[in-house]
């Protein structure tokens, strides 16, 4: 019984995610109509009967149609499960249930952005060693000595490979 309830909850939170993805697709496709021509270039047709806007607008139109179908399908699923409309609760519950995983995912992205931001600003070997150490920590390693040794070795190896051998201008 518990398994059935859990499956139902997962299904409901999945539908919410599908609806959100549907809106994301529509934002991209409709947004394309407003951003395809940032220089406000004239829309004169070429000898091929097309111009620079024909192709991206054609793709954006197709994506809008597909996005509407996807969103429509998701809403049909939403209304099909009519016994309980408390979908948002299930959605947030599923995030709450996987709090630790989401925490790691968000922090992985944050760590990557920080690493990219400081590339070229801080010594590459030091930055990479710190990044690796924080990465190990984020992924639940707590054997600090091994983490330190691996970070320093990894940082040195990366420096030797990318800066010394491949001569990347970091």
């Amino acid at each position: 019984m518990i398994t059935v309830d859990k499956n139902k909850k997962e299904k409901k939170s999945d539908i919410i995610k599908d609806i959100l993805i549907g809106f994301l697709i529509l934002i991209i496709s409709v947004g394309a109509f407003f951003t395809y021509n940032p220089a406000d270039a004239p829309l004169d047709m070429g000898t091929d009967g097309m111009n620079f806007a024909t192709y991206p607008l054609g793709v954006a139109t197709l994506l809008t149609v597909l996005g509407l179908i996807y969103l429509g399908n998701s809403f049909l699923k939403f209304f099909a499960l009519k016994e309980d409309y408390n979908f948002l609760n299930y959605f947030f519950q599923s995030i709450k249930d996987n709090k630790s995983l989401y925490f790691k995912r968000v922090n992985t992205v944050v760590l990557l952005i920080i690493y990219a931001f400081f590339l070229g600003e801080i010594n590459f070997m030091l930055l990479t060693s710190i990044f690796l150490f924080l990465g190990f920590f984020l992924y639940d390693r707590r054997d600090y000595l091994l983490m330190l040794v691996l970070s320093l070795l990894g940082g040195s190896f990366s420096y030797a490979l990318f800066v010394y051998f491949l001569k990347l201008p970091i």
């Binding site: 697709i25 991206p56 399908n73 990044f131 690796l132 390693r141």
Partner: protein, 498 residues
């Protein structure tokens, strides 16, 4: 053709190229053995290193990785029941029970033998087909090339896992990303959002690193807690006798056939080939009840099919510029990054690289066999290591892959953005490979469509004025119609269930 191939072997036998092929195969086996890290990810890790190389050595390294991961995935499938790659899942069905019965060495032996055999079979098919198909493709006009590329995208959307709708949406997003930057015909900027960095479009390497590197790391964090309990502590590969292997001719011939054919169909990939081969061999077996309980044919068929896809995927990639799977999509990207133009003209402009890659494909199979036999204990040691050590290293290499493409920081941010976007899409069942193919094939479709229309004085009937073009449009229409029909049928069935 024979001379070209001999030239390819001569190039491969240069010590530096041979060393890179060997190292690539070793890395492939290593990465393939680790659940969660697959061939595209391994190739992404190598991207920053391959920039500084000539095209052939760079691609040979990638070929080595590609071939190596195929077998590496079966190590963890047999010893852990956790396949290292999606295609290895099928091998676990009978490989793991064999290991549980104390025959882990023999299961690994069957896997190694079958992988090698599958690779050789598909290599023969590839070297036979490629010059023939390429000869026809070279006569193609711009309209043909545009239609071939559109057909490739539709096929990928149709045959990739999940629904065709999701495949199409992924393709369209890829097409939009591919259209960013200066228009190739009119030199007018599109979707640049006022950024000078985007004038030359989305950096291709950044798209690959983001969609196949960062997205996979973010996604695979869910595997972080899985522990690696090995079924046995004996890790020696025991090869079956030649006679025993020959007796299993049904399994390896079915695997070799399906692997080679399915590998050539864009989007299906090795996992489709392995399951189909396994199902066919099981259904035609005298003892189908033995499958799933440690039947060697259940290892031979999927493993042969898995490696047989390596040659199959090369056929559309090298002749038409249409990748068969995610790894070959990255290789197409690598061809671009090294100044080569993938597509119908590649055999003309880069024949040396093409034949070198084909020679490398066979040699990588030989290396795979030798390395697996000699270093299985090392791979099993790595198999037991926790991903918490590997992922930070993967991220450093992927970041460098994005940076080294332009020696600028902008591609790194693009890669992170696309990594998050790719993760979200992949989580909801939109295969990121469709996005990448859209990015690759979009500019080809647009440019060739416009040139074809210029030649035909803006007459769209140029796309239906020869029989091959009509057939291609027929295939596209059939695939779309069939999917719409299937979708309506599925909805009807689900309504009946409710």
């Amino acid at each position: 053709m024979f001379e070209g191939l001999m030239g390819g072997f001569a190039n491969c036998f240069e010590p530096f190229n041979l060393l890179l092929l060997f190292l690539g195969t070793f890395l492939g086996l290593l990465v393939g053995a680790l659940p969660g890290l697959s061939s595209p990810m391994a190739i992404i890790i190598l991207l920053p290193v391959t920039y500084s190389l000539q095209p052939l050595p760079a691609l040979l390294t990638m070929i080595g990785v590609y071939v190596g991961t195929k077998l590496g995935g079966s190590f963890s499938a047999i010893l852990l029941r956790t396949p290292g790659t999606p295609a290895g899942a099928c091998t676990a069905l009978d490989g793991f029970p064999m290991a549980e019965k104390g025959h882990s060495g023999l299961a690994l032996g069957y896997a190694t033998y079958s992988s090698f055999f599958g690779g050789v079979t598909s290599w023969i098919i590839a070297v036979t087909c490629i010059p023939f198909i390429s000869g026809i493709a070279l006569k193609s006009s711009n309209a043909d090339i545009a239609l071939i590329a559109i057909m490739g995208l539709v096929m990928v959307s149709a045959f990739t896992r999940g629904s065709m709708l999701k495949g199409f949406i992924g393709v369209c997003i890829g097409l939009l990303i591919g259209s960013m930057g200066m228009d190739r015909t009119d030199a007018i900027e599109r979707f640049t959002f006022g950024s000078l960095d985007l004038l030359s479009g989305v950096p291709f390497a950044a798209a690959l690193v983001g969609l196949f590197g960062f997205a996979v790391v973010i996604s695979d964090l869910s595997l972080m807690k899985s522990t690696s309990e090995l079924v046995t502590t004996k890790f020696k590969i025991v090869l079956p006798s030649t006679l025993d292997f020959l007796k299993r001719w049904r399994a390896w011939s079915v695997g070799g056939f399906f692997g080679s054919i399915i590998g050539a169909v864009p989007g299906v990939g090795a996992d489709g080939a392995t399951w189909l081969s396994y199902g066919t061999v099981k259904n035609n077996s005298k003892n189908p009840e033995d499958f799933g309980k440690g039947e060697p044919d259940g290892v031979v068929a999927p493993e042969t099919a898995n490696n047989a896809t390596t040659g199959g995927t090369m056929v559309p990639m090298l002749t038409l510029g249409i990748p068969g799977d995610a790894s070959t999509a990255i290789m197409i990207g690598a061809l671009y990054l090294h100044g080569l133009q993938p597509g119908v003209t590649l055999m003309k402009t880069g024949a040396e690289v093409v034949y070198g890659m084909l020679a490398g494909l066979l040699l990588a199979g030989v290396f795979m066999f030798v390395i697996a036999m000699g270093a299985i204990k090392f791979f099993v040691y790595v198999l037991r290591q926790h991903r918490s050590i590997l992922f930070p290293f993967v991220m450093v290499f992927a970041t460098m892959g994005a940076f080294a493409s332009y020696n600028e920081y902008f591609p790194v941010y693009v890669a992170i953005f696309l990594g998050v976007f790719g993760f979200i899409m992949e989580e909801r069942g939109f295969p990121v490979v469709t996005i990448v193919l859209g990015v690759i094939l979009g500019p080809i479709i647009e440019y060739n469509t416009r040139v074809a229309l210029q030649v035909a004085n803006a007459d769209w009937t140029t796309f239906i004025d020869t029989w091959p073009r009509i057939i291609m449009i027929g295939i596209i229409a059939f695939l779309v119609f069939n999917e719409v029909k299937q979708g309506l049928l599925r909805r009807k069935l689900s309504k009946q269930k409710l």
